[in-house]
């Protein structure tokens, strides 16, 4: 049993060397030497001005530590004597628990053990189960017994298996000059030294295995650290790929609905725009024909109308194209994370034959105001005037047909002709307006159908394009997942893990055995 820990230690040193961890090898080597040596390494800790250095002096019976009225011990001094190695720790630095067989806390008996010191002891007991608390300066107070009991209680409450020994270094140092056995006894130092010697004697089979196990465990953990690192990165990568696949799936559902909505909006917007443009043309035409005479201007008018319609159609179609591009770009942006250039090539153009299929504007039948028609109208109109004027003048004794009545008849004839002409004009204008409206309506119907067809083509083209893209992306991700899975920490890593586990179990076995020998 005394050598079980040594075997495990050597095995671990070999494992460290094999992995190139020279730092751990050195650490274990030093500890190994110290554990094999029969001398007991005692780490002496405690707050300043509580008599730490004086106690060390008293234990070794020679003023090796500088005891001053000023705080000293800035360099950790090591004093060796009679199989005891006392390491006096400096006040500021963290004492080295790694290399201690025993921890000796030095505290003034009249003061409570500080929470910081209790915490330190709690940490220390994990690697070094042998704790001794020396309560100093018992020569200065007659009440030290109650005070020591109180400190003992506090340690027990904190669950610390520490032995409490009351001492007075001052008394011991006085006996160094004289030969006073009673004083020596009262100083309590002898009891402390006896305890330390007993610990030294039991080191090999009681303290060493436990301490060895503690150091060995922490070294094995250090060895296993890179392995853990590897496993976590693998797990992370796998998770990332899986998340990517999930995201892509969600995206697919989203963009298809988005596309349908967008196309529907597009169709209705384009139709409204065309309607708007044609209505404006109609209004212009109405205004024009409120004054102009269609019979005269028709030939000049027709090209104007055709040109305006063509412009309206082109503008409308251009807008359709622009909107389609925008929709495509928006969908492509959803996939920007996966692929930068996801836009399909643009295949939209306005079919040239759109206008060819439309009917030409027919000249409406305006009719003519021929000469015989005029004469007839004039005569008709003049009749009333002639008769009215003739009747009036007959009262003056003139015949029915006279200069006045003929003159009146001529005036009336003229007015009638004019009215008739005006009415005919209005009729012509109305005819013209109606004809134009019909034509424009025809145009609107035909062109808007063309646009709807184009919109449907756009929808189909985009849908096919992006579906193909998604399929491709999914294939890529599946491939990436396969590759990531292949990177699984391979058999070698698994074996390494197994080996370290086995070592760790052996270490635990060392610690488990000396069940009763740890706390005195």
């Amino acid at each position: 049993m005394a050598h079980l820990w040594l075997d495990v230690f050597d095995e671990i040193i070999g494992a460290c060397a094999a992995r190139g961890r020279d730092d751990l090898v050195h650490r274990l080597d030093v500890r190994r030497t110290h554990l094999l040596s029969p001398a007991l390494r005692v780490l002496v800790v405690g707050p300043p001005k509580h008599g730490k250095s004086q106690l060390v002096n008293a234990i070794v019976n020679a003023p090796a530590c500088p005891v001053g009225d000023e705080p000293s011990t800035t360099v950790p001094g090591t004093v060796a004597r009679d199989g005891l190695i006392l390491v006096d720790s400096p006040p500021d630095a963290e004492p080295g628990l790694d290399d201690a067989d025993t921890v000796l806390l030095v505290s003034d008996v009249r003061r409570d053990i500080s929470p910081a010191d209790l915490e330190f002891l709690a940490r220390a007991v994990r690697t070094c189960p042998n704790l001794i608390v020396a309560l100093t300066k018992i020569d200065l107070s007659p009440h030290w017994r109650q005070l020591a009991r109180r400190s003992q209680q506090r340690l027990a409450e904190a669950g610390l298996p520490a032995t409490v020994l009351p001492v007075s270094a001052e008394l011991r140092l006085r006996t160094a000059s004289g030969d006073d056995a009673a004083l020596d006894e009262e100083s309590g130092i002898a009891a402390l030294v006896a305890r330390l010697r007993a610990d030294a004697a039991g080191k090999a089979h009681r303290l060493a295995p436990y301490a060895a196990a503690a150091v060995a465990a922490s070294v094995v953990e250090a060895l296993a650290a890179p392995l853990h690192e590897l496993r976590t990165t693998y797990a992370d990568r796998l998770q990332r790929v899986q998340r990517g696949v999930e995201d892509l799936r969600r995206q697919s559902v989203r963009w298809q609905t988005g596309l349908s909505d967008d196309i529907a909006d597009l169709a209705s917007d384009v139709e409204y725009d065309l309607r708007d443009r044609t209505r404006r043309i109609v209004r212009a035409v109405d205004e024009f024909f409120d004054t102009a005479d269609p019979a005269d201007v028709w030939d000049a008018f027709t090209p104007w109308l055709e040109e305006n319609l063509r412009n309206a159609a082109e503008a409308n179609f251009a807008w359709l194209v622009e909107r389609s591009h925008w929709i495509a770009a928006r969908i492509a942006r959803n996939f920007a994370a996966y692929r930068a250039e996801a836009l399909p090539p643009s295949t939209f153009w306005m079919p040239d034959d759109v206008f060819d299929t439309m009917s030409r504007l027919e000249r409406p039948a305006f009719g003519q105001f021929t000469l015989p028609q005029r004469v007839f109208s004039g005569l008709r109109g003049s009749y009333g005037g002639l008769v009215m004027a003739g009747l009036l003048t007959s009262l003056a004794g003139m015949p029915l047909v006279n200069v006045v009545s003929v003159g009146a008849g001529a005036v009336f004839a003229g007015k009638t002709l004019r009215d008739e002409g005006g009415g005919r004009l209005q009729r012509r204008q109305a005819l013209a307006k109606a004809a134009v409206q019909r034509h424009i309506e025809d145009f609107f119907l035909k062109f808007s159908k063309e646009c709807r067809d184009v919109a449907r083509q756009v929808h189909r083209a985009l849908r096919d394009h992006f579906t193909a893209l998604v399929d491709q992306l999914q294939d890529d991700l599946a491939q990436a997942a396969r590759v990531a899975a292949q990177d699984h920490p391979d058999a070698a890593a698994a074996r390494e893990h197994e080996a370290l586990q086995a070592l760790y179990r052996k270490v635990r076995a060392i610690a488990a055995e000396p069940a009763s020998g740890i706390a005195a």
Partner: protein, 393 residues
Amino acid sequence: MSALLDSAWTLLDTALRVYRDRPRTVALLHRYLDRLDGPLTVAVTGPPGSGRGTLVEALRHELPAGQPVLFQEAATEPDAELYLTPHLPGAVVDHVPHATIVVLSRADEVGGARVDGLGNARILARRYQRDPVVAPGCQAVVAVSGLVGLAGRTLTGSERAALATLAAQPRTDLDEHLLSADRFVAQRFPVPVDPAVRAALVDRLGMAGVRLAVTLVRTGSTGPDLSAQLVARSGLTDLCAAVEELFLRRSDVLRAAATLTGLRALVAADPHPEAVPLLAGLERAEASAHELRELRLYAALRSGRTVLPAHLSDEALRLTGATGTSVAQRLGTPDDTPRTHALALASEAVDRWRAEADDPDRPYPQRRAAQVVVRSCEGVLAATAGGRSGSGP
């Protein structure tokens, strides 16, 4: 009166006017006013177990009654500070500037509570006081055992009787029973003094105090002499002297300085559009606080950190107000000296000390000290020329 104190009053008045629309701030300002009028507040600080309570108690017994001073263990914004520490720190930081005394407490336990422990502690403290690293942080370092000092001052009749009985025993018989507290209160004891009485003696004086007291009685100190000796050796006398010279004598300056610091913090925490001239006034007051420099010089000379040639040292102390701040006191003349004579003395002092300050052969700390003296002299000259004879610069 002190010029700094005048500034403090004026600035407080200004502040009250500026902050008249904020009742909470006004209340705080009134507190400052009260404090400025009141006793000197001295904070007694230190880690637990450093003996603060005992020291405060001892000081109360030791200082002459009626002194306008208040020792507090938990004081916010104190005017001065006694910093207790069981061992001497590397550097002194975060304490009241120009008004901190470091007290090496529990001096009786230095070096194992031996009889000569207190003496050793005093030597240590004196050495430490001269250390230039410590210089900016404190005005003086004193080793004190509050326990011994308090007990010495308040020794009862029965205690004296017990000590006398103990001292009557020859040393050779008694010494081994004084080696530890257990031995001293043991049932079996060569001297007919009750164990309870002996236990009480240890609680009151500590083992070092008991040993010291017995030795003193044996060498002839009795009655009030014993008390005086105990108090003196405990370092309490030294501490009282330091408190008197460094804190109480210039109490007005310290109170004013603390008030200005507090006022500055208040203005910073509670900005006000009209506060700009107030801040300017505060900065002016703090920059020109020559009295604080005089205090620092006094502390440096007293502690031995700065050393002036013997023939100059006393005069420097006098001119910077160590023995009194009136013109006559600074010049060292009787109060009724005619003005012309005072003027002559003052201008001659200015010239002489200016020469000292400019002397390239003098080491730098001495020249700096001389500069402070020059400034004080100029103040005296101005005060004399201005016709005021009773107040300092």
